[in-house]
Assembly symmetry: C4
Homo-oligomer: 202 residues x 4
């Protein structure tokens, strides 16, 4: 699982979704134990030994990498909020430009996605659905972002969303395990690009 | 042939044509035997052992992969309809955004392609031809899509097309063997991108 | 040199310049002997043994690959015309969409390129020059294209161009040896993309 | 460090930032000793043995590669000006189209960047900052460019910029060491692309 997380970071880097040391990833390794990538490092160069193990509930670091210069991802609190609210097994944080631009096109507080077969890639959705991805405002400091993330996770309009956009910033995307998180990450980036190419509405 | 199918899935994944577990591929391995990729899996990770062998006429599974979790591609029925109508040896199902957007630009029920040397990549066409690629409406359920696919396969206006667009969804592309299917897949995606870049008409 | 030609075909394929079996390459191996890629094959899969050796002056095949199914590139005549007129050591034929679209933007019979440092990549040019790349009309048959190519090669306005655009088709690009041909191929594709992004004029 | 410089050139080449032999890189190997890539060569093919060592202060070549055909990068003077003014440990010269186009969008003499989380990738900046990247005019000859670079390096408005755009040409980007230079190169190219996608202002 550690190697797979690193492989996905390399894959997402190649796609331009975690460039400039941005972005991140985590996955529940075993009940209560969350594997978490370090912050501020070139994500495509993270090795299995660089991962932290943190407590899913408290965020406490259970095991730190030998490299003492590494610090756990600043997304940890948001990752854990998503896991707590949705039972996710893995969460990806994307810094893709397409995510930023899709948030620019949000109507009110949501990216509206419809008329796309790729919607079937999200559990419970059909190509005939009108899917809303919540967008929260970016903040200079992490704690306020977590509160907004928790708020939209509890909003019934977004009950089926497996993604949250962060304006000017990127997106969080998740699945019940790493493979579904990878799938949803690819699906939503496709959807974001489709929304952009269509000019925000068909 | 099994390895080549997997290699092409990796190639198409790198180009963004089968992301998010979408898309698919098949090829006639021997008379009556169709090699078919599984559904719902990350297409770039399909291995030769993951392929199904189905009966070209009936769609019956002749040989299933050892991995019992795998299910044959839901495109199987459409793949077989194309093989029956056109004598194709291999069919690709693309989820490329360029295919979706080219369908958006369709005039009536066809993508109109002209003034392009790349048209010579399709048998019987010259750069001076006006080529029509049929577009069928997307459906929540497979059977209706198959009926529409069979209808356009029988439409004289589309007699030379080796592709069918599916609105909001992607495209089916085929050739007399795997290599020609690969060629046509590349040719049509180029043509779709050209149509988009030119704004739908020259 | 054979391996390098194949490597460049793979590189250009990855960039989308020779997709769908389109495009081609040649290089003068020794006085009078021209190494020439075969036609109608997937260019990224050409191996050193697949290359033809043709007489630079007459176009006669001096050495054919063992694989009797291969035929020499149909660009051979144009390649030889460019070599004869400019003393090129290597010529690339690109099917890039950017080349097609830059020809769409041509003023009269030339792509106008200016205000770009990358112009210095072409011998004798400065960033302050206004550089003209000739554009010839595409033809269903090769011979007429060769005549037009020879005409623009003799046009004083295009004396410094190391590229010829072919409308709806792509471009020919050359250099005094393979390395300069690679450089010019990259430089001109950058210039084409810049012309497109700037909307044809600054 | 030599191998890393070559690896970064290959990475930047794959991203299209140093194509057509353009662009360059340098890094301070030890006090006073600057590793410098050669000029006019295909940057993705530079090997550790191809690098020059020059005196950081004087620019004098301390060690030349065995390959006598190689010449030190023409960016050397600008590289050293940036190192002198900012204490940079590594400087990258990009020929990316996104850098050229972002300069086209400059207001007066600066690219204006705001409303982007990725700004946090630059030391001292927050996502709420309005960041100015200076743009200097391109020149046919190097010396005048150096003077302009030194001028903007001393301009208080650009005190936090780790990049300088050169109109019609590209950009210089730097960091306190190679890894930070890589990070800033990726961050600024993301920012340039965001500015372009947003049409120059939000």
């Amino acid at each position: 699982m550690r190697e797979l997380l690193c492989e996905l970071l390399r894959l997402f880097y190649d796609k331009g979704w975690v460039s400039g040391t941005g972005g991140g990833i985590c996955a529940v390794e075993a009940p209560g134990r969350l594997l978490l990538a370090p912050t501020g490092v070139h994500k495509e160069r993270v090795t299995p030994d660089d991962l932290f193990v943190v407590d899913v509930s408290s965020g406490e670091v259970l095991e730190a990498p030998r490299n003492a210069a590494l610090k756990p991802s600043e997304c940890g609190e948001i990752f854990r909020a998503i896991i707590a609210a949705r039972g996710a097994g893995s969460v990806v944080h994307s810094h893709a430009l397409s995510a930023v631009l899709a948030c620019d096109r949000a109507s009110d507080d949501a990216i509206v996605i419809e008329h796309l077969e790729m919607l079937k890639g999200i559990p419970g959705l059909s190509n005939t659905d009108r899917h809303l991805v919540p967008v929260v405002e970016n903040t200079p400091r992490e704690p306020q972002l977590t509160a907004d993330v928790e708020r939209v996770l509890g909003d019934e309009r977004f009950a089926r969303a497996c993604a949250i956009g962060v304006r000017d910033h990127g997106a969080y995307l998740w699945g019940e395990d790493i493979w579904e998180a990878k799938k949803h990450t690819e699906v939503y980036h496709f959807l974001f690009e489709a929304v952009l190419a269509r000019g925000g509405s068909r």
